[in-house]
Amino acid sequence: MRRLVQGVVLGLLVLGLGAALVGGAPIKIGICKIVEHPALDAVERGTIAALAAAGYREGKEVEYLWASAQGDPNNATPIAQNFRSQGVSVVVAISTPMALAAAEVFKGTDTAIVFSAVTDPVAAALVASATDPSGNGNVTGVSDLIDVASDLKLLRELSPSIKRVGIVYNPGEANSDRLTRNAEAAAPGLGLVIIKAVADSTANVAMAAQSLVGRVDAIYVTTDNTVVSAIDAVVAAANEAKIPFLMADPTSLKFGPAIATGFDYYRHGEITGGVVAQILGGKKPNQIPVTYQTGAQVQLNLDAAGKIGLTFPQTVIDQASAIYYGGTLWERE
């Protein structure tokens, strides 16, 4: 056993030395995410695509170390420690727990932490301020805070009879918790009332959604990973009650909500890659303010609207960047 360990260690040393001698050793970038998830995977792909476009190609100029906590926040710290021991120059931390663990492990070092898909970096104490980057230390990144008020306004435009909006959410998710609070804060100004239904796991989404039938005029779901994973259950409840369902995730449109808004997470990754490229180009994280993604899309599902007898008003159709009709997504030219 000891021989084997010695052999492996020696082999790794030789490999490492070899790589260093070939010259122009690639810059190491650690990319970590909390869990395997379509949106977070898209962030990863977008990040490396943007870096490649900026001249940092995988295997040439940069080398990636990949890690996933596989849904367990306890894996976040060892992942960051492993990145540190391997001497990465930049850490791309996707989701709040990964960003917090990386910021703690790399505290006081020169290694840059670029967070991504973090809804509220100021509340998470990752950065001191959203707009003023000085005082951030070695941390900056990209936030996916969506404009909840504009989503609620969209529901209001759909029909003046919409007064009560039901939100299915998991209070255990930092992003979802924050957005639901934002919705509650924005609702009175728009003449709306928010009714919450809690689903603490994917198994409970169906029951939570069913509990809203007959009590609300529309259903709204934010970027809630738990609920998104069980979106069919929410669609079924909305169809049963014949009420519109707005989902703040455009990739979910084909699963049956009448409206989908929000960000393309591949684009979110591209923005993240752009921030990493700036850092590799010599900028310090405390010179780069947090980027809040803008340009939320509005997409309409006419098939779903047909099932609940909903006709979209022209003002809503004008905002749409794409429609789903006859089982196909049609994008506006």
């Binding site: 395997e36 306890n74 930092a174």
Partner: protein, 299 residues
Amino acid sequence: MVALLMHAAEQGLVYGIAALGVFISYRILRFPDLTVDGSFVTGAAIASSLVVLQGLDPVVALAVAFAVGSLAGVLTGLLNTRLGITDLLAGVLSMIMLYSINLRIMGRPNISLLRAETITRSITALFAPLGSAAVLVFLAGIVLFIKLVLDFFFKTEVGLALRATGDNEAMITAQGVNTKTMKVAGLALSNGLVALSGGLVAHYSGFADVGMGIGTIVTGLAAVILGGSLIRSRRVGWMTASVLLGSLIYRIAVMFALRYGYVIGFQASDLKLVTSLLVIVALVVPALRDRFVRRPKPC
């Protein structure tokens, strides 16, 4: 590599406290207690919210975390002994209740300790001459202290009654010991330790997350059983040592899976697979050695 092993050792120790808690319920009381998945987070929630929101001293916050964790154990104990709910269901009910309670304590699903005075920061400042080893030395001290106190406790009259409650309930009832009280007390101690571990993990990692307790029972049991198969002894001192050894091996396995998993062709999504494979190796290698290597017989 040395730094990584040190980190793995730190985690082995800090999660080892939770494993000692699981050891008390599972091995000593023979009570499969799922409360720990909730009380681990309760400890983290208390230890971080008291420091961040109330500005309390980290040591005080951790002591409160231990106390509140014990209350969670008392709750499960009472559900089981007074209301007659079976052990597994009593634990499950407490665990589910604690999810909501933990969210109440924290006020949100995730508390950041990045800008707070955590125990790890105090220790690093206090034992500055030790450099990067300060946290490891501190954790080793705490864990050794807890281990020795437990070893001593299990040899006292109350401790022996507790062990007997798990071993032979009829016998110890005949001796005039109230086994119901014993179970409640044992679960309180167990969940207190689990909560303390959760609090320390939060301070060590720099955040508390409401999802961090999922799997505490699984990794705790892994440490108890792994350690128990490596050190087979009925003596309490060796048993608690074996639990800590099991926890160390588990965390080293996680670290090796992270560091070398991709070197041998695994990808990021294989982390849990590689971790478990390494634990299997740790379990099987000593057994194989016993079977195949003929050792000189002691005279």
